[in-house]
Symmetry: D3
Subunit: 318 residues, 6 copies
């Protein structure tokens, strides 16, 4: 099987791919003919493709996010590579291919990420804080194994949210050693809870966000996460006005730092100040890493990155 | 008894007043002497006062927010009137004076305001919405009778919060008649709930806010109000993801309209759009009304008002 | 005749429509052929249409904003409905169709709106204010019966400007009853005059603004409206520095509230504060109403609305 | 007579000065005594002064903006010079002193400035433009001889407004020679008219603005100037919709460039673009010149200047 | 030879032109055919062109920024003129045509501009300032003869940077006569140096900027220009902390006035304040001039201009 | 000796202190008497003090930043402690007290900080980068041992700048282990160089900044640091356009991230993105740590902190 980032002009090839996008279009002929305008992808990248003269059956057979077997030829169109599809059929069980092999995902396996997060939760010394964190994580346990952290902004891939948490937990652990006034339990809990409602804010499949949910639009993940803490405290019989509940809610509510970035209050505990900056540091460095990883080594500049003041990143070499 | 807004230069007078502010200060003499630097107020206004040569007993007898009987003389100091206190003593039960007679308050009695609000709640047709509103109002029932709506911004007096609600309910009622797409139950509930946690966000006595509470600073009244709805739903057995709970929380969360004004989400239901604008309209008109009421008729311009783009209001006359 | 919002895929139909937009385009064939790229509309909505193989005569026969009779068939193109036109001819007098039946318009007839506005003017008690309002309205009397209030922002349809006035007058009347410090004559006059020069700022036909006029661009409707008051006062012999003239000009100049929204001064009279907020309230609620009305009942969310922080409106249902 | 910028510590002196500011204050003694807290000024600068033990007669004799004869001694108070007044009396006709000798004023005489402006008006070739300019200047002719251009921002002294005009006319004249697409009549007229209503916007005496007038606050000088053009056109029988009237009004309305700086429209004619930048260039350079002139030569840095991004100006020397 | 701004529909013509843009595209036919999508230009304007059925040889023969001889016919496509190319070949030495005759350029010849700038440098009285200026100009001497001042913003054509300098020097010279506190040497030097590194910040050919260089993106022309002064001082043995070096660097660093416009410090010397405003005045007036020059006389409004608050310029006529 | 943070009301005490601030003032008596208005400090805090009836000799004996021996009594004035000084004399060599014992300083000794920084420099593998860093550090070697990092914002004490560097180096080292795409040499160098010119931007003694230097105001530490790199490269014979020089300058120029925060370019290399966020993280956490350390344990809230959105920090306890 040929990986997408290894296809070259004029290659003829056969392989399995994911139909990341699919649209039925018409040629400009009179009368117009239908064809399938497709984006094929695997874990190494993606490439546009055309399947000309699509039949009525074809239009009902293929759908976005499905796996397919393709025979095609690579051509150059407007200075970019694209595939002319000669044959295409849906993958079937006998093919033995798995969706998750064809999508971009965090560099660490979901299982390992979840295992790390569960380990950190087990290490939280305060039992009430631990119970609240466990309750909230429990609400999205299944989704946490695969959700991205955002639609496009950063960590936008399979397992991205858990990966973001794990990296932040590492930085938080280091800072707690460097700055003794930080409460380790609170900071751990804040890192795990700060985006915990994102899997309910966004609708995602295989690490790709298709849209925001209605509660996501009407409440936002910050208020949702904060309300899960309220719910946890009530269900667990912890006083709503206890300092621990207050502290956890404040961490979640303030982690975007400013009102115009979505936080109704600004960080006012040591851990809340730390949380915001750990979040920013990890997200921005991940944007850099992802841009470098998806830009060919031969390119000195990555494309412009919205979250980095709309600048590209330069590979300094000597 | 002489009301403060009727005192004139050189008047000698006797009367009961509220010690709104009191600080022990020293004269610049060597050695310095102690005196009491005071603000006297009643329901018609306030005036600075000095009590020279305060004894040790005096310093322990008087405290802010206490009622006193004063014999004094009015003088002019730097073009403003101030009182030189000749005699002062605390009021006692036999004097028959009540604190609430000496403070600025809404033009409608607390009892009438609460009665109106309860009537509106009773008229909410949807039983679940009604129960949630009743639960949240129940958490601050006693305070709702006297809390101001803000520290200084608008409706900053005894009963101000309830008065703001009642006026907004009137406007909301009118608009529901004019615009049939508005859901009357939701809009009523939104008006009553939008600032419902303010009595826990601020510490106030007699309509005067002294400071923000710790939960007020760490969470803010918007998130607190929203979480009360969560709490109400859980206690009442209403599903947290039901459209009614979602709709009420959205009303509360979005009513400041923009992130920089404290709302984590923007209005996205018809009632939420209406709520924000009714709130703004009533608050701004009340600022105008209060500025006009507390500025002498003889002045063409009121002082500058922060909430009105820091402009004064002009009395146009012909 | 079939209304546009009732056409379904594969329908064959005959009907009268308005050519809202029309452009001659070429196919990509070599040599290219001309066809007409059209938007058909009636009072219920609009739909794209193509008339292939347009002759030279066709290209000279049809023009935007003309009424036509069409025989066509509905097809699906890129998941949206569009009309393939089989036959098309201009409407003629015998057809008995009127342009105004084919355009979107305010829910109240122009005649009724104008009648209401004239009634309010007649009720203005102050004769000088009344005369100035009458003079300014007189300058655009004919256009007031059909002009929209804006190009796209809100009330962008036939009679929209008069409709906006009438609704605002209702709210203003209610508020004058609720807040006795508001001068009813001034507020009425301010509502009628605040956008009175819009018909000279914009070039519109049938409620559709095609562009801004040169005076509209160089002066703007705020300054133009204010100068009409100057003109009225001079023509009517009212002193330019009288408080009434000053008050009316201030209402007009300040009604956008902030410099960045186009107002050179901020509201500094009670009526000016009220006017700005009534204007905002009515415009925003109308955006909600219009978005709901033009979005199919089956859609939970309306499209994004620029004037509402670029958010959609959600239909809460239970 | 000793000029204020030449007084040194311990000097005993006699001289005439202007009472720029005067307030009756009380000492902290018990009972307090009255004294006069004064700012003395002449054309070279100003200095605080105290007149202890003021009698009742004194308090009625002296008033701000009056000329006085003073015998005093210079002392140092908190590292700054101040005058202890030994004797003080009002100036009288026999003293032969003139107010205008004691105030800061433009470096060119009012008469010369007005003469230059009238000469430029006479040179305007277009008779209608000339007539409109003449009409508007006629409304403030007397005040133009002495008004400042602003309260504190720039050119805040006797004759400052006319001086600003003359300097701008020089720059405009140069640019018309350099850029032939500029209409010399329009640019001249725009420069003269852009701030022409300032003498009605502000209340000033001897080049010192005490406050803004009511029309100044409610309309602003930009709208007032624009409306004078309307008035001129009507009185002179020039069509209000003629391109000349439109062009002049646009120059005035747009000269602050942005809405947040007070202009309801942005510059859209060549002369309007030029006018805004000539105005900015002249105002900023004058702020520099005035700061350098009023800062002792021995100081390397002037005080901070609000209009120059709140920075000081540095005297670079080698 | 026919100039581009004189071509009319249906003209058949032969002439030399510059291939300003060239892209190989495919028709929508199946299989698609290659054609050349071209923009032809000369000094009077530009026009799109198509060369159908391009051969493999054609695709290797033509390239952007090359001169060609074309035989073509003018057609109308979507209401705009475009050329159908019948024959095309590259220009060759015997044709005697020069690239510089086909591009837009400053209204004064490069030679004259450079001569003027060199003359100004020779007139700088201070030898150290003169030497620094000469050193920096020496680094880009060849490029200064043809570089534009910007990619699209203003003076975006052959010789634009030098032309901008010369016009600014004229204004600076005038202001030094009007305002005697300005140091003529410093202001001249600041004008010449303020954009001196732009030829290294941008990659341009024939006055057309194709992209920013890597140092241009990583440092920006302001920091680069400032560092050239450092380099000059070291090479010339002038103390880095001397007031002249400090003054020149400050002029360069502050000339964009605000941080958000790219200046790390704000103007704090008289010449720096002047430099910023001369730069703004000249750039804005040039935008006006260029917009008027490239808009047909028959159009009342120019297209919108980003640097002028995104407004068009109106040709007032009477 | 009694430390300042242990003095209580009515304590009589004798001790050595630093005169952090000293001003000669006058009482309001007539005639006024001189007294010394003083701020005493030691390493644990500071307290206001008064020395009444100062003689002429006293006024010439004491000066700010001098050490003194004081006998005094603690009193309460306006609810705050202040010292009434009974006796005061300057410290003399025999007293054996050292200035550095009386000032606030970093929690790690200067010697240790400098030793750490030098160790990091020695570990830079790239010789050219190492040489440039060494050159720049060499320019401020003596000052680096004691300079603060800012006037008030953060690390505003003895050794604060070096302490900030060392903590950032620790974080940077951790991140290089976590994110392998970061170049360790560049990041180390960027951390050491990013504020390296601050000791020349500010005038400081004993960790207290009194003002900004003239080069500090005219160039700013960002441009100064960048130019030191230029200077280093020239002196060391390293090409100015080499990628290493470019990379180091970019790190320095971009580390404030945005133009409005003083950076003329935005971060565009991986290390530049990291540097900005490490700087922000360390500065903000240090503000928290310093606020907690200087607020009595008994206070739940610290004072408001400008750099933390003007919020206080809350001590959450349970």
């Amino acid at each position: 099987m040929t990986q997408i980032n290894q296809l070259r002009n004029q290659d003829e090839f056969v392989g399995f791919y994911l139909l990341k996008e699919l649209e039925v279009k018409q040629t400009n002929a009179n009368p117009p003919k239908d064809y399938l305008d497709i984006v094929l992808c695997d874990a190494t990248g993606e490439m546009p493709a055309k399947f000309w003269d699509a039949s009525s059956t074809d239009k009902e057979t293929f759908f976005p996010m499905g796996l397919v077997k393709v025979r095609g030829i690579v051509q150059t169109y407007r200075e970019k590579l694209q595939v002319k599809i000669m044959q295409i059929r849906p993958a079937n069980p006998e093919d033995g291919v798995r969706l998750t092999d064809f999508i971009r995902s965090a560099p660490i396996s979901s299982e390992a990420l979840i295992h790390t997060i569960q380990g950190v939760i087990n290490d939280i010394a305060d039992e009430e804080i631990q119970a609240i964190v466990r309750y909230c994580v429990g609400k999205v346990e299944e989704k946490l194994a695969h959700y991205p952290a955002a639609k496009t902004h950063h960590h936008a891939y399979f397992g991205g949210l858990a990966y973001h948490m794990v990296r932040m937990l590492e930085i938080g652990d280091f800072l707690c050693g460097q700055r003794l006034f930080l409460n380790r339990d609170l900071l751990k809990a804040g890192i795990i809870l700060h985006d915990i409602a994102k899997p309910e804010e966004m609708v995602a499949e295989l690490g790709i966000v298709s849209e925001y949910s209605t509660p996501g639009k009407l409440l936002g993940h910050i208020s949702m996460s904060s309300q899960w803490i309220t719910e946890a405290a009530i269900r667990l019989g912890i006083a709503l006005d206890s300092p621990k509940v207050l502290g956890l809610q404040h961490l979640v509510l303030s982690h975007h730092n400013l009102g115009e970035w979505g936080s109704p209050v600004q960080p006012q505990t040591p851990e809340a100040v730390a949380l915001h900056h750990i979040d920013a540091l990890d997200a921005k460095l991940q944007m850099v890493e992802d841009a470098l990883a998806t830009t060919p080594e031969s390119e000195a500049w990555t494309p412009l990155i919205r979250g980095l003041e709309n600048k590209g990143i330069y590979r300094l070499k000597w």
